[in-house]
């Protein structure tokens, strides 16, 4: 039965379209102790940078209405330690592994991509929401020019499939998606978190030391779904949908809107077994539908 959830994403056959999102599933180890994560279609590593990073000081998460803000600051062990200590575990899993790469300069992106591409991973997801320190701290993915640069240059060194993860704060998301396509990205995923703000009214100070933080969770779903719909209607390369997925119904909305697979982030914090639950519900759903494979509903809504 589970076969009917199989989807093809580029050259990869996924058991099902459910992939765990970067930064919300570690490298899989923690959740592997809670359920059989090999039921999943895939998982994305937490965001990696060339060098280890300690992450941000101060408060790192804040609850909002049907969502949360985070300012983790890309705490990660760095590419080398990752390759040594975590990648073998990820590769040993019977699911697709995607490596999420970040950088605060073009050079960092290129170096990290080159290194990880040599490890022959299933796919690289390029997180272009990171601030470009040379560009006054504006994230690469906001403007077409910086997006073009980072995609073009990383594409040159990446020998595995390259997916670019778009920022919802982009000035013109459709144009940014086109730029990715033009520069040879194999796929795009969207969305990353939304730039947002919170105040500690008691102490009359901002909550996050970094001022702004990233909003995720079901609160963003209607906007993220709109973006996925718009982008998937306007480019040829496949789209992975992300943002606020909590239930199988949310997954169906993303697929019908045009996503070929989805990523689940924040929901893992609310229910650690949400992946298992959603896959179970999707199996039930499809067994009651007059279709043979879930792919048949992809992009069905104009």
């Amino acid at each position: 039965m589970s076969r009917s959830l199989e989807v093809q994403f580029l050259n990869m056959i996924l058991k099902n379209p459910i992939i765990m999102a970067s930064g919300t599933f570690g490298f899989g180890r923690e959740y592997a102790e809670i359920y059989d994560i090999e039921k999943l279609g895939g998982l994305v590593s937490k965001g990696l940078t060339m060098n280890p990073r300690k992450g941000n000081p101060g408060i790192r998460v804040w609850e909002t209405a049907s969502g949360m803000m985070n300012s983790i600051g890309l705490e990660n062990p760095g590419i080398d330690a990752f390759i040594q200590k975590e990648l073998p575990f990820m590769k040993s899993l019977n699911l697709k592994h995607i490596i999420n790469i970040s950088g605060s300069s073009l050079e960092e992106y290129i170096q990290a991509c080159e290194k990880i591409s040599n490890e022959n991973v299933d796919m690289i997801e390029l997180n272009i929401s990171c601030p470009n320190i040379k560009d006054g701290g504006i994230p690469f993915g906001i403007k077409q020019s910086t997006t073009r640069k980072v995609v073009k240059e990383t594409r040159k060194v990446v020998k595995v499939p390259l997916m670019v993860k778009l920022s919802p704060d982009a000035e013109n998301l459709l144009k940014i998606a086109h730029v990715c396509e033009e520069e040879g990205a194999d796929a795009v995923s969207l969305v990353n978190t939304f730039k947002s703000f919170a105040i500690d009214i008691e102490n009359k100070v901002k909550v996050f030391e970094n001022t702004y933080a990233g909003l995720s969770g079901p609160c963003i779903k209607p906007i993220a779904l709109r973006m996925v719909h718009e982008v998937s209607k306007s480019i040829q390369i496949p789209v992975m949908g992300i943002g606020g997925i909590m239930t199988y119904q949310d997954v169906l909305e993303y697929l019908m809107a045009g996503a070929r697979a989805v990523q689940i982030g924040t929901a893992n914090f609310i229910n650690p077994k949400v992946g298992e639950m959603i896959i179970h519900d999707l199996e039930k759903y499809i067994s009651n539908q007059p279709i043979e494979n879930i792919s048949e509903i992809i992009g069905i809504v104009d």
Partner: protein, 236 residues
Amino acid sequence: MAIISFNQPLKNDFFLLKISGKYKADMGQFFMIRKDSQSMFLNRPMSVYDIKKDGIIFLYQVVGKGTSVLASCKKGDEISIYGPYGHGFPLNVKGSIALVGGGTGIAPLFYALKQLRKNKKLKFIHVYLGLQKKNEFESNFNDYTDSLIVHYGGFITDYIQYEKYNVIFSCGPLKMLEKIDRQAKNHGIEHYVSLEGRMACGIGACLACAIQTKNGNKHICKDGPVFKGEEIFYYE
């Protein structure tokens, strides 16, 4: 989903919440709990206060939105509960021990006290509790401890007779833990602290609860909540 057997209001905004079911946990471990409400999106970490055959008990105080939602729970309500998570206090301790709790930091100490009672190698167990005001749950400790010192307002740390102990378990405000740790170092006492921190996942995946330690970044939910005092309080 589990069912609430009671949610008993105590003095000073404290509550005892019992959730029915079979539970197992080490002392010092915690669970993530959440009641369905517009005002509560993330789970909240709560230490084990006690485990009975038919349920688990938490002691919490209302301090904000999430705990207010918990306070509105009634017998029979559904509640989400995940766990046990984290690394608790070490069972295998020797000599004489003091448990020191401040405010809601008292919660894990009752279960710890009961567990430690099974440790026959311990000479005696003393309990120190610091609270703003008198409350109902303090007397529960009497049944299991060799000595109970409760202090209201001020600093409980001023009352600890450090020279008596080989080991201290403490939980409460960071300032309190630090004070104790300084004395513990002076007296050569093995000191374990249970830390609090804002959490999202509770299992080490989101990296929300990072804390800098002598041994680099650690995550309270996964590497803790119990740490050796010397790992947290150190001079670089």
